[in-house]
Amino acid sequence: MNEIKITINGRELIGLEAQTILEIAQNNNIEIPTLCHDKRIEIYGACGICAVEAEGSPKLLRACAVHASDGMVIRTDTERVLQNRKTVLELLLSDHEGDCLPPCTLACPAETDCQGYAALVAKGEYGKAAELVMEKIPLPASIGRVCPHPCETACRRQLVEEPVSLASLKRFIGDYNIGRTAPCAPQIEQESGKHIAIIGGGPGGLSAAYYLRLKGHTVTIYEAESRMGGMLRYGIPEYRLPDSILQKEIDIIQNTGIIFRNNVRIGQDTSLEELRQNHDAVIVAAGAWSDSKLRCPGEELDGVTGGIKFLYEAATGKIKPETFKGLKIAVVGGGNTAMDVCRTAVRLGAEKVYNIYRRTRNEMPAEEIEITEAEEEGVIFKNLTNPIEISAGKAPADRPLTIRLQIMELGEPDSSGRRAPVPVSGKEETIEVDMVISAIGQKLNPKGFEELSMTKWGTLIADGQTFQTNFSNVFAIGDATNDGADIAVSAIGEARKAAEAVNKFLYGQDVNPSPKRLVKTEKTAEDFNDREKLPRHKTPCRNPNERRKDSLEINSSFTAGQAEKEASRCLACGCLDFYDCKLIKYANQFDANPVKYGVSAHNRSDVKNKETLPNITQTPEKCILCGLCVRLCEEEVGEGVLGFVGRGFGTVVMPAGISDVCRDCGKCAEICPTGALMKAYQ
């Protein structure tokens, strides 16, 4: 065959006369996307995404179909070519229904692949599950215990009965990981010679350090306290997260080669400026360690303290067990910290613990389970009350303290959407207590961070995408930034994203993340009405009368059997082909907007009601009509089991009434560029 010379994107290439433009490009590592072409079968030219520009041709040419000729000058990178690719993808996506990612992953601030780890647990592959979770959360045993699990709130299993116990599964995986002789030890890239300082050894700082270390960087964590763990260690009580569990996970992180420098406080032992000078980049993950003020007369009194401070003192043993024996304690606030304070006070032997909250139980920001468990442990809830004055009798040290409580009622919804508490005029109540602990919010201690720009609420300003501060080499994440304190997994999610930004920064690349294009679909209970109802497994909780007396963990992990059963409840409602899907890969590569033309997919219900292929899962609403399966089955396999039915926009692919001749070779599923045909999930 004759050799020919063609030019693609300015490169002179040698090809053969009978070769297509696509073949020559592929042989020379020039990428031309294609969705409907395969070497094994005849040229078809349907998708049009491979179209390229040829000098002298007014039209775009389909690279998969046009045979190259000597002297041809091709460009695959012009605006016209890229626009065509984008249009093809945007049109295909407008007729493609599915969920690239399941709602659990989308809801998780760390984007954990819950569906993935559930599947691995269901198969008994705990080690692989641990590796998968660690890609997003390096502290699964700890987070599995403390996370308020937005994943479960989003879980579609609720459309059948109850959400999958994803947090407990994560805890199970984490426990498995720390319990085995060789826990997950990820591959660390070649040493980069770059040095990064992390300020703060909490979940955010530890995670950022971990993901940067994996990239081969030298990472030092500067921590003010004597031990790492941050709020996980000093804010979350032992009964929820045992110190030993946390320590084992921190050890795993440290073993990747991260340098821990404890007892170093910024603005005291070193300065941000110094760290900036001595490192290639700095991530500030300092947390929010100052209690918000109660703003009522008497809060300066000796027996009035803050929740964060109280929990810290309890965790470090400054407050000894049984200190509160016979005492009455009032805890102000309705969040998770307030619940932790209440329940810690119970465990310190308090006779009575009051929770003072100005709205009703329905509006409490704390997790429902936390409230219920606190109630079971004897906490007295005084909802719709608000402290207006704390007084101590004649001398400041006189006890009891008297709290004047304003009785409240719910008025119109406020900006948060919750009904605002309004004082009922003239209605008050007083209670007498020995101590008042206010847990109504927490803030960054700004000392040492004066160089950084702050919001009017006193948090550090960090870019929402890149986490950069006013210094390009200083990044900030977690409770110390922007909207302030949030759940631990949020800080972990930010940590991984910030680590990516820092990594790009270190190599002089654009620190902005590339936009993520995803396909999403609404589902209703009807979509899952074929599923058998299966009860949700919960981790067993100890009897309240027993557990309130000690600091031992209140509930235990799943057994392997429970975990596997629970994991198998996962509906796997996220696309199982996401990581192999060419459509979404190209959509991201060419920045195609999936909803540019709206999404009104054509009706494919006929396919579902007809016969199915053996061992193949058909999801017709994902079909992009590339025809690869139809043609491969006919031309390569020689059977013609699949066929096109209908015309135009309404065309569907389905077994042409002869699925019994299917050889079960699975080639249709292998060649399908999307998740429309997949080998049945074993």
């Binding site: 998708c47 049009g48 295909l92 007729d95 992009i624 009509l625 135009g648 926009f649």
Partner: protein, 594 residues
């Protein structure tokens, strides 16, 4: 003694639809029962003469009677018998005859004149003399040269030079890609899958003069060296199929088809394949796929059908009108054909005039006439003497040409400059009551439904365009919709594999080019100035004009009109379904639409 008059009844599909069969029965039965010894007039059925708006048409010798009903048939019988009659009431008016005199008939020369079911009438008109000449006297190269001289180009839409196709098919080696079990051969295919809404010139030829087309195919077969022809005709043309079948049988009896034609060693056989009505099967590669029993989907070219066509063998495909021109060209010489028309477009072209035109029907004119010549000269102008707004040329693949460009010459190149195309010759005439957005929506909806579904651009792109037009006409147009339409249109033109997709955006692009303000009115002004898009209309009763007759309130199907006797009525807009019934029934013109 009187000579027997020759009586013909137009029995094309248009005539039959207007009642010609009944008239034919009356005339032929009565005449058959009449004392045959006095005189023996013959009644024969002919095809469509092209004056579809005057059907049923009866000719008695050189007299033409129009819109003939039962009573008219009686008068005509009286006339034939020499009795006193009022047949003159049915006689064609002089100005209507202009529709014929303004034309130059080549492809349609025998349509409406000869009986298509009697080969002798075609032979009387020098039929098959061209074929005889080609088989016995001319070499294939001579034939192709003659066609080249004529400048004939494909009349189906693309306007590709006919001689070039023939030459390519002639030069293609028949042994190229032949499987061992099949004999190497070439095919002649006739594309009679006329699918454009508002186009019916091919049907008229098939029904009115099928032999002209058969003879053209025969000549083409001789030119490229083929011995087998296939006519792909849409099943929606049953009368055409019947007449074609009869014509083939008769031609075979006369040995114009079959073995050793005209005593030579030239063999040619023909068969008919009925297509199931997919518009896309008019695209030649889809047509071939359909002939082969495959799904009617176009494929990429090259290879062109002339290289690799039906059964992967060299095939020449032309449409009906193209073939029908061929015998005339051979008989009269290519240069006589080329003498008509413009520099780049030779000969004549048949147009199907529809829409708001006074004299709807078929018109064959030399290339180079202007749109106004056809609309006002041949077509007699706009119904109700309203204003011409635009002409949609070339069906759903074509574009609209606004009235101000009425002096545009009809040839391939000039039309293309306007954004429209010649296409197969459909001409939909629109007056000021036509909403151009709605018109574009109609055609887009058509192509969207007719898309085969193979290419992404066409399958989904036309659908999305159609949805956008739908919402603009539905009063829900959004800012940016025009730009979105333009962007999609360009991308669909670029990215589609076959002409259906590549041309589908044309109606939108041309209406945007010439009537952009109407789109803007719909979207930003929420009004349809042509008063066609219901969602944008509001009906109101003018209190001064309303006398309170209550008729509209009684007739309103939605109960949306309130009022009492002798009190001006009112329309409740929330209830109004915009059916227009109040406008229709009001005797005082009191209902205004705005």
């Amino acid at each position: 003694m009187k000579t027997s008059p020759k009586i013909t009844v137009g029995k094309g599909s248009c005539g039959i639809a207007a009642g010609a069969s009944e008239i034919f029965e009356i005339l032929s039965n009565t005449i058959a029962n009449h004392a045959p010894d006095v005189f023996t007039p013959s009644v024969s059925a002919v095809g469509c003469i092209g004056m579809c708006y005057l059907e049923p048409i009866v000719n008695v010798d050189d007299k033409t009677f129009i819109k003939v009903d039962q009573k008219g048939a009686g008068e005509i019988l009286k006339l034939i018998k020499g009795e006193e009659n009022h047949a003159e009431n049915y006689e064609i008016r002089r100005e209507d005859l202009e529709i014929l005199s303004a034309q130059t008939r080549v492809a349609l020369q025998n349509c409406g004149i000869i009986n298509p079911e009697d080969i002798r009438e075609y032979i009387e008109k020098d039929g098959y003399t061209a074929a005889r000449k080609c088989v016995l006297e001319m070499s294939p190269e001579d034939i192709i040269a003659e066609i080249k001289t004529s400048g004939l180009s494909g009349r189906g839409g693309a306007g590709f030079p006919t001689w070039f196709k023939w030459q390519a098919a002639r030069n293609a080696s028949a042994g190229n890609s032949v499987s061992p079990e099949r004999k190497a051969k070439k095919y002649i295919i006739c594309n009679a899958d006329e699918g454009d809404p508002g186009a019916f010139m091919d049907r008229a030829i098939l029904e009115g003069d099928p032999h002209a087309m058969l003879e053209g195919m025969l000549i083409a077969a001789r030119a490229i060296g083929s011995d087998e022809g296939i006519i792909y005709v849409r099943a929606e043309y049953p009368l055409a199929i019947i007449r074609l079948e009869k014509a083939i049988v008769q031609a075979r009896e006369k040995n114009f088809l079959g073995e050793n034609i005209f005593g030579s060693d030239f063999n040619f056989n023909l068969r008919i394949k009925a297509g199931a009505g997919a518009f896309v099967c008019g695209e030649e590669t889809a047509l071939i796929a359909s002939l082969e029993g495959q799904r009617g989907m176009p494929r990429l070219k090259p290879p062109f059908p002339a290289q690799e066509g039906y059964r992967k063998m060299p095939s020449n495909i032309n449409n009906v009108e193209t073939y029908a021109n061929v015998p005339w060209i051979i008989r009269n010489g290519g240069s006589k054909f080329a003498a008509m028309g413009t520099e780049n477009s030779k000969g004549t072209k048949v147009f199907a005039l529809t829409g708001k035109i006074k004299k709807g029907g078929l018109a064959e004119v030399p290339m180079g006439k202007t749109i106004n010549d056809v609309v006002f000269g041949v077509g007699g102008g706009i119904q109700g003497d309203r204003k011409l707004k635009a002409v949609q040329m070339g069906g759903p693949s074509g574009g609209c040409i606004p009235a101000e460009l009425g002096n545009t010459q009809i040839d391939y190149r000039t039309l293309a400059q306007t954004g429209a195309i010649m296409g197969s010759g459909g001409m939909v005439v629109m007056d000021d009551t036509t909403c151009m957005v709605d018109m574009a929506r109609f055609f887009l909806d058509f192509t969207c439904k007719e898309s085969c579904g193979k290419c992404v651009h066409c399958r989904i792109g036309t659908r999305r365009m159609s949805e956008i037009l739908e919402r603009i006409c539905g009063g829900e147009g959004r800012d940016g919709d025009i730009e979105l339409l333009e962007e999609l249109a360009e991308n669909i033109k670029q990215g589609s594999l076959c002409a259906l997709g590549q041309t589908a955006p044309n109606p939108v692009l041309t209406t945007l080019r010439y009537f952009r303000n109407e789109y803007e009115d719909h979207i930003t002004g929420r009004k349809c100035t042509a008063l066609q898009c219901k969602a944008l209309l509001s009906y109101n009763i003018e209190p001064k004009a309303c006398v309170g007759c209550t008729l509209c309130a009684k007739k309103c199907p939605a109960g949306a009109i309130t009022g009492a006797v002798k009190v001006p009525h009112k329309i409740i807009h929330d209830k109004c379904v915009k059916c227009g019934e109040c406008v229709n029934v009001c005797k005082f013109n009191a209902v205004a639409i705005n």
